[in-house]
């Protein structure tokens, strides 16, 4: 049988290019353009688009970027990320609603919970490699789903409703749409910067080495399992940050947030935008969320469209939108 852990990964097709400074300068310029565009969009978006839509978009973009940290930069396919997103949404919602936590503390509680859950799931899942890793994370996430369905405080099929938005730092009323929007934009930007820093840190370089060739990273003396676990915990925590924020914005946590279909959606966002790219997940989330809004009138045909997009991406478009763009611009990372 073919050894799975040794098959060469094709994820992202991202290569560190050290020899050509001209490439790197070009790369930096284009990255700069993307950063300016992103921050510009964050600032003026509420004037152009419906704020709730943009906030939903930002929550999913952060979720997808957190997921990309694993699939794109460590080479691990988690099929259970909805557990962290949805689980954190419920815990944050409960902290805000029942314990009366202020907004930021509520979000922090959800994020910490996701990190702890990520540690538990991650330490089990990294005991197997490749395709088994995906199946284990999916099965473990299903336990979380059943817990969310059956535990007394989650509201079962109805979800957790009526989560108060409260006052940021005690004096900014988050029921004001713009106050809520800029809070979410700030959370997104901080989360995204954290991910950017992780990718470009020495730690991130080791993760890339693991993605490219795990046995080799091991033979160089890196404790591969610890790196993988830490990457998993970070990714889960950031997914939890996204889920907690979404619970605060929409004032409810629902079963769909924890369902395996959500895990599938975040994979699609990342795949469509470009696995292993910096801005890909944001672009992918934008396209998928916009698509869902545009197609909301046709009911369950949306699932067919999403499934069809999945098939098309895997067969024809594995680099994703940003990955293809980077190839056209002849730069290494975008």
């Amino acid at each position: 049988m073919q050894e799975m852990s040794n098959t060469t990964t094709d994820i992202g097709e991202f290569e560190e290019n050290t020899g050509e400074p001209e490439h790197r300068t070009r790369s930096r310029i284009w990255q700069g353009i993307f950063w300016v565009a992103l921050i510009g969009f964050l600032l003026i978006a509420p004037a152009l688009l419906y704020p709730v839509f943009v906030m939903q978009l930002l929550c999913f973009a952060l979720f997808a970027a957190a997921f990309n940290l694993l699939i794109g930069f460590t080479g691990l396919l988690s099929f259970g990320h909805a557990a962290f997103f949805g689980g954190a949404a419920y815990i944050a919602g409960h902290a805000l609603k029942v314990w009366g936590f202020p907004p930021l503390l509520g979000i922090a509680t959800g994020t910490l919970f996701a990190a702890a859950l990520g540690w538990a799931v991650g330490s089990l899942a990294i005991r197997r490699q490749g395709i088994y890793f995906a199946m284990i994370t999916l099965a473990l996430a299903q336990i979380v789903y059943f817990l969310v369905l059956q535990l007394p405080f989650t509201g079962g099929e109805d979800g957790l409703q009526g989560i108060p938005r409260g006052h940021l730092l005690g004096f900014i009323d988050l029921n004001q749409p713009l106050a809520m929007y800029y809070t979410v934009a700030a959370i997104f930007l901080i989360g995204f910067l954290v991910i950017y820093r992780i990718i470009h840190s020495p730690f991130g370089q080791v993760l890339l080495a693991i993605r490219e060739n795990e046995p080799r990273a091991l033979s160089l003396g890196y404790n591969v399992d610890r790196f993988k676990l830490l990457a998993f915990v970070l990714s889960a925590a950031l997914a939890g940050l996204a889920g907690s924020t979404k619970a605060l914005v929409f004032q409810f946590a629902s079963l769909t947030d924890a369902h395996w279909q959500m895990s599938g959606e975040v994979i699609l966002m990342t795949l469509l935008g470009g696995m292993g790219t910096i801005f890909g997940p944001v672009v992918g989330a934008f396209v998928v969320v916009a698509l869902q809004h545009a197609l909301s009138g046709i009911g369950s045909w949306v699932q067919v469209v999403i499934g069809g997009t999945f098939i098309a991406c895997v067969l024809l478009f594995r680099r994703g939108i940003v990955g293809e763009l980077a190839r056209l611009l002849k730069i290494n990372s975008l």
């Binding site: 049988m1 073919q2 050894e3 799975m4 852990s5 098959t7 060469t8 990964t9 094709d10 994820i11 396919l77 089990l124 005991r127 197997r128 490699q129 490749g130 395709i131 088994y132 995906a134 199946m135 284990i136 999916l138 099965a139 473990l140 299903q142 336990i143 059943f146 059956q150 395996w260 279909q261 599938g264 994979i267 795949l271 009911g299 369950s300 045909w301 949306v302 699932q303 067919v304 469209v305 999403i306 499934g307 069809g308 997009t309 999945f310 098939i311 895997v314 067969l315 594995r318």
Partner: protein, 301 residues
């Protein structure tokens, strides 16, 4: 008989009945994984397709060709539906999966996930999402048999015996016959097998068709027991993944035995603590991962 033992036996039988489906589906997954190194996420959806084909053959197919009185019953469906599912599977293999073999196996998982969403979405659109009962259960299998400790539906007993025979036949074919030895050789070294003049791409396509056909067969068997619904395979496939992680996909017999055993465990859990019944398999998976990370029947990786 002690009522507790009676209850355990009764729930055990019902659990075994679920185990039938775990065994047949993980068998199909293992056959496919063995040769193609592909984890077929669409296996649950193809099981659903098999059940729907049985329903369509009975309730709609006659009307479509203008013969309102024609109902294609259970026995013909038991052959026709798996064949149709196998054909569908072979089309997926030929036109989609084949292009992904050189890549990381996660791409084929993602592709089959996409196929799952498309199939589910289509059937939700055309049929009732909450399920339709299958009206075509054959007369000869209606009623109950007395097992001494419980009255057991005759049809369910038939399903248990029939699927044990199918699983044994598949195991025998793969482990003990010439076709099986070629298949296993193709797993070990496809280039060498090609050099012996065996058409490996064809063999791969037929194997995928065979594995998906087994899923279709399980679907037909399930149709009279559960109601036929577009989502019937969705949660099942995740349980099957856990079964496969516990058993290890390397062994055909291992996949089958794990499937039956876990159905039994799940049934008996219902006696002692019913709310845990739908998570017990996942919890067992956690324990197996801690104790024997390669699975009960898995080879050292």
């Amino acid at each position: 008989m002690d009522p507790m033992i009676r209850l355990i036996l009764a729930q055990g039988m019902l659990g075994l009945n679920n185990g039938v489906f775990y065994a047949m589906l993980s068998l199909g997954l293992a056959v496919i994984f063995g040769l193609l190194n592909v984890v077929n996420f669409a296996h649950g959806a193809l099981y659903m397709l098999g059940a729907f084909l049985a329903l369509i053959l009975y309730s709609y197919a006659g009307a479509w060709v203008g013969l309102d009185a024609l109902h294609i019953g259970f026995w013909p469906a038991l052959i026709l539906a798996p064949l149709l599912v196998a054909c569908f599977g072979m089309l997926i293999e030929r036109f989609m999966l084949r292009r992904l073999y050189k890549l990381d196996p996660i791409y084929s998982l993602l592709l089959t996930f996409g196929v799952t969403l498309v199939l589910q979405g289509l059937f939700i659109n055309f049929f009732n999402a909450s399920g339709t009962p299958y009206p075509g259960m054959p007369e000869s299998l209606r009623g109950v048999v007395n097992l001494g400790f419980m009255m057991f539906p005759k049809y369910r007993l038939f399903v248990i015996i029939f699927s044990i025979i199918v699983c044994f036949a598949v195991w025998y074919m793969i482990e003990r016959t010439r076709i099986g030895s070629r298949l296993r050789a193709g797993t070990e070294n496809p280039e060498l097998v090609k050099a012996f003049g065996i058409n490996v791409p064809l063999m791969v396509m037929l194997t995928f068709g065979f594995g998906t056909g087994l899923a279709g067969l399980a679907g037909v068997l399930a149709a009279p027991i559960y109601s036929v619904s577009p989502l019937m395979g969705a949660n099942l496939i995740i349980v099957i993944f856990a079964v496969v992680v516990i058993g290890g996909m390397g062994s055909i017999a291992g996949a089958v035995l794990t499937g039956f055993a876990l159905g039994l465990v799940e049934g008996i859990t219902k006696v002692f603590y019913a709310p845990a019944a739908n998570t017990v398999i996942f919890l067992l998976m956690v324990i197996v991962l801690l104790v024997r990370p390669n699975g009960l029947f898995g080879r050292q990786s």
